[in-house]
């Protein structure tokens, strides 16, 4: 224990970084740490193979602020998880107009459940909280410890290699305000450990990063940017070539084309199956032509079918359906002046055929079954509505059209006597 060991190979080069003392047991180390702390050193440390119990007090290490960082990040994770779910599932494009599509929420309805319901969001909130908190704990710890740091001056010492196995070390940094080579050496020598070893900074330490490594890592990283750049460019560039179609996603499937002789799907060469004998397809059992087609014996019916009863409630139903399905074109009063017609005229749509006024002579003379048929199958340029409106509702609309037509042709006698004065 007499002065600095000079036979160490490290002593020949570099600046003095600090002094290293070795101890054989945690007990001895803790005792020494207390003395160094009391001597007033600030930039020093102990190095041990495992966390030694009681060393924090012996060195005067203050509790770390890591838990606060973890809490903060955990809190952000919690709020972030909540906002993410609210934003993506409970807001829509119309709530925040002007956002790019990939930032818009999409509030679709699932099984009639509320768009935003906290209980259903708790699992994800919990996971994001834990995830961010764990990141904070790990990366916060590493950052506060100034890691990763591939090389430190200490690695120059051969004996220090046992710090991770079974030896205990004290290291006093030469940058400490109280550091004085001679004085500190003799102080450390008297602590009951080995004689202090001077640690010098040598650039060619065996543990240092190989020189070419940094350059090659940099090159590698910059090479990694090329594919994403190519892709990014391809997204905006135009090309005459068809897209490369790697993943087919069932885009090209076997199919039966019109002029093809026989399909490969079935042994008989057909592409679909004929109806088995003696069966009726669902919804095809419609013998009652009066009710379903508005025809009796091939002629348009002039009466209502027996399935419907004409009363005020029925006609009101017809009014309500008419206003939904027909009024956009034919107008609420049936005069052919609905909003669609108005828009088409305003835009001067070429070839526009105006909806017929339901009050003109032809329309009034049509039998009930004819109007019914016009609704079911459409007429001339008017599209069919049969698959949107049920037969009963179609008959209700017919009855309402008749009421509309009557309202335009009635004379004073048809009006109840009590309202007659109002019309004069």
């Amino acid at each position: 224990m007499s002065g600095v060991k000079t036979d160490s190979p490290n002593a020949t080069a570099g600046r003095l970084e600090g002094l290293l003392v070795e101890f054989d047991s945690p007990t001895a180390l803790v005792a020494a740490a207390e003395q160094i702390r009391d001597a007033g050193y600030r930039r020093w440390d102990t190095h041990t193979p495992f966390p030694v119990h009681g060393i924090d007090e012996a060195m005067g290490i203050r509790p770390t602020r890591l838990p606060f960082i973890v809490f903060l990040l955990g809190f952000i994770g919690c709020i972030g998880g909540l906002v993410l779910q609210w934003w993506t599932n409970a807001t829509g494009a119309s709530d925040f107009p002007g956002l790019p599509t990939f930032l818009q929420g999409y509030n679709y309805l699932i099984s009639g459940k509320p768009e935003f319901s906290l209980p259903a969001n708790i699992p994800v909130i919990f996971e994001t909280t834990v995830l961010l908190a764990a990141f904070a704990a790990v990366f916060g710890m590493l950052a506060m410890n100034n890691l990763p740091k591939h090389h430190t001056a200490l690695f120059a010492s051969e004996r220090f290699r046992r710090v991770t196995t079974d030896r205990f070390f004290v290291y006093v940094d030469a940058a400490d305000a109280k550091f004085d080579e001679g004085q500190t050496t003799s102080f450390l020598g008297g602590l009951g450990g080995s004689q202090p070893e001077a640690i010098h900074d040598i650039a060619s330490s065996p543990s240092a990063l190989p020189g070419g490594l940094k350059v090659s890592t940099l090159i590698l990283i910059s090479l990694l940017f090329i594919p994403p750049l190519v892709i990014a460019r391809a997204r905006v560039a135009k090309s005459n070539e068809p897209r490369i179609h790697i993943i087919q996603d069932m885009d090209n499937q076997e199919r039966f084309k019109a002029q093809q002789a026989a399909s490969a799907f079935f042994a008989d060469g057909r592409a679909s199956r004929p109806q088995p004998e003696g069966t009726v397809a669902r919804g095809d059992l419609r013998f009652d032509t009066h009710y379903y087609e508005g025809k009796i014996g091939g002629e348009y019916a002039t009466t209502y079918p027996e399935q419907v009863t004409i009363n005020e409630q029925f006609i009101r139903r017809g009014q309500e359906r008419f206003n939904v399905y027909c009024a956009p074109c034919h107008g609420l009063g049936g005069a052919g002046n609905g909003t669609v017609n108005a828009t088409a005229l305003r835009l001067e749509t070429a070839g526009w055929i105006a909806p017929t006024s339901l009050h003109d002579q032809l329309a009034r003379s049509r039998p009930l079954g004819h109007i019914y048929n016009s609704i079911s199958n459409g007429i001339r340029s008017m599209p069919p509505y049969g698959d949107q409106i049920s037969p009963t509702d179609r008959w209700a609309i017919v009855s309402y059209i008749r009421a509309l037509q009557f309202s335009q042709q009635a004379d004073l006698d048809d009006v109840p006597p009590e309202v007659r004065p109002e019309l004069r």
Binding site: F23, P26, T27, S117, F160, R161, T165, P206, P210, I247
Partner: protein
């Protein structure tokens, strides 16, 4: 595998005296030597090569069967119309469950200050990571078009639609994703000091560089240790509710649906207990050969194994209770669909699977009431193998019985897995064991730094009895000797 006589019996409990957790009179030096042995020996034992070859072959089978699946579509599996969740989901739940023991040992036992965890926590955590890797494959490949699996993540698709956050399947993505990430961090952070040990002991430059890279320049500084321990504690505190949540969320996949046999509130606790049960069985399955192969018998002692057996007994009994309770409720609840499905489980077309499960999961662990069984390695091995099988069948029974006999009897369909199903399952074991064997070979299998803290020498305040004190003198140390 060794027989009992050459084991040191440290399973005794004497009042006032602590049974040693590390046997064989080890000190820090010799303990490090033993624990680093597997990674430092030039040639691992013959058994390692054999096991590794088999595992890699199985891994190749996994790759081939997944490739076959991708090219041909999920039709190559045995899934049929009512049974849309076949092996893929069974295997997923099975593997996720296995992982739980690792986190339990590393986090929950840490919070409970169970010192015996230190010998087995590292490889149990590794087991977690590899099991979650295996688990993660299955939901990914069972979606059919695996190239759009990223739709599971929180990203808008081309129609600007986001995933539905009210669905348990999405919770699952978050739960398993977080679990995998946190487990990996926990494992890696705990390993940093031991990687530094590897770095410092390595005798060639490349080895020193690579381990040094991953050890991140760890110097064992007490100021670092202080934050390290705090971070570790926080991670344990975070991982504990996390591990309970993960299998709960996995159970929501079933429990939130409205299928008889699935729609029960007992599922979350029952799944968690089952996961820990199955996971511990896997820990013992791995520990038994590993300690033999790499001479770790003094570190993973009989006492450690016995403790694992006790946990297996406890959780196995909880699982048995849950099975019983399900039956009770199906009768007591008076719902005819529920009672039908449970009758069908025990007596219906899948009765063979059900009774395999009961035998392996409920009856077999009861042997562990007897200390002789808890300390006999062969009995232990047979029981844990049965539990491994039984836990797989538990998931089979849950998934298949409820699905194959749904509400409409005309669509009932008996589920028969195909050869590809079986090969994929076997292949996932290949992945698991390949990773595990590589881990044993190249990474610190024992948490050396942690084990040292539970050795009697580590206590800076208590004076170590003379017989146990250091038998070496620091001045004798010649660095050059270490180098050669």
């Amino acid at each position: 595998m060794a027989s009992v006589p050459n084991e040191i019996d440290n399973t005794w409990n004497r009042p006032g005296e602590r049974a040693p957790l590390i046997t064989g009179g080890h000190d820090f030096t010799s303990l490090t030597d033993v624990a680093c042995g597997p990674a430092e020996t030039y040639r691992p034992p013959r058994a390692w090569y054999i096991a590794f070859t088999i595992s890699v072959v199985l891994l190749a089978i996994l790759g081939a069967s997944i490739g076959y699946l991708i090219i041909n579509g999920v039709g190559v599996w045995g899934v049929n119309n009512p049974t849309g969740w076949g092996f893929a989901i069974i295997n997923f739940v099975f593997w996720v469950g296995i992982g739980h023991a690792g986190t339990l040992i590393s986090a929950i036992l840490f919070l409970f200050r169970q010192k015996w965890r230190t010998s087995i926590n590292r490889f149990a955590e590794a087991m977690t990571i590899f099991a979650v890797m295996c688990a993660g494959i299955f939901p990914g490949i069972h979606v059919g078009r695996i190239w759009v699996t990223y739709w599971m993540g929180p990203l808008p698709n081309q129609m600007a639609m986001w995933p539905n956050f009210r669905s348990p399947l999405l919770w699952d993505v978050f739960a398993v994703g977080t679990y995998a990430t946190v487990s990996l961090l926990f494992w890696y952070v705990g390993m940093i000091p031991d990687l530094a040990t590897f770095r410092d002991r390595s005798k060639n430059k490349i080895r020193r560089f690579i381990y040094g890279l991953f050890a991140m320049g760890w110097t064992g500084s007490s100021r670092h240790w202080h934050r390290f321990e705090r971070a570790y504690l926080i991670l344990a505190a975070l991982a504990t509710p996390l591990v309970l949540s993960v299998h709960s969320v996995v159970s929501f996949d079933f429990a939130v649906s409205q299928l008889p046999g699935w729609h029960t509130t007992i599922f979350p606790p029952y799944f968690v207990a089952g996961a820990i049960f199955g996971g511990f069985a896997m820990v013992v399955t791995l520990a038994l050969p590993a300690r033999e192969m790499f001479g770790l018998k003094n570190i993973i002692t009989l006492r450690h194994l016995e403790n694992c057996c006790k946990i297996i007994l406890l959780t196995g009994t909880i699982v048995g209770y849950a099975y019983l309770m399900e039956f009770f409720i199906s009768w007591y609840g008076g719902n005819q669909y529920e009672s039908f499905i449970f009758r069908a489980r025990a007596l219906g077309p899948y009765a063979w699977a059900y009774w395999t499960m009961i035998t392996c999961n409920v009856l077999a662990p009861q042997l562990f009431w007897f200390k002789w069984c808890r300390t006999n390695l062969w009995v232990m091995f047979i029981v844990v193998m049965m539990v491994n099988v039984g836990m797989w069948f538990e998931r089979f029974v849950i998934v298949v019985t409820s699905l194959s006999q749904d509400f409409l009897p005309s669509s009932w369909h008996y589920y028969v897995p195909t050869a590809i199903d079986w090969l994929t399952l076997a292949g996932s074991f290949g992945l698991f064991f390949t990773m595990f064997l590589l881990f044993c070979r190249f990474l610190p299998m024992v948490a050396m730094a942690e084990v040292k803290t539970v050795m009697p020498h580590a206590d800076a305040h208590a004076h170590v009895p003379a017989s146990r004190s250091f038998d070496y003198n620091p001045d004798d140390f010649e660095p050059e000797q270490e180098q050669k």
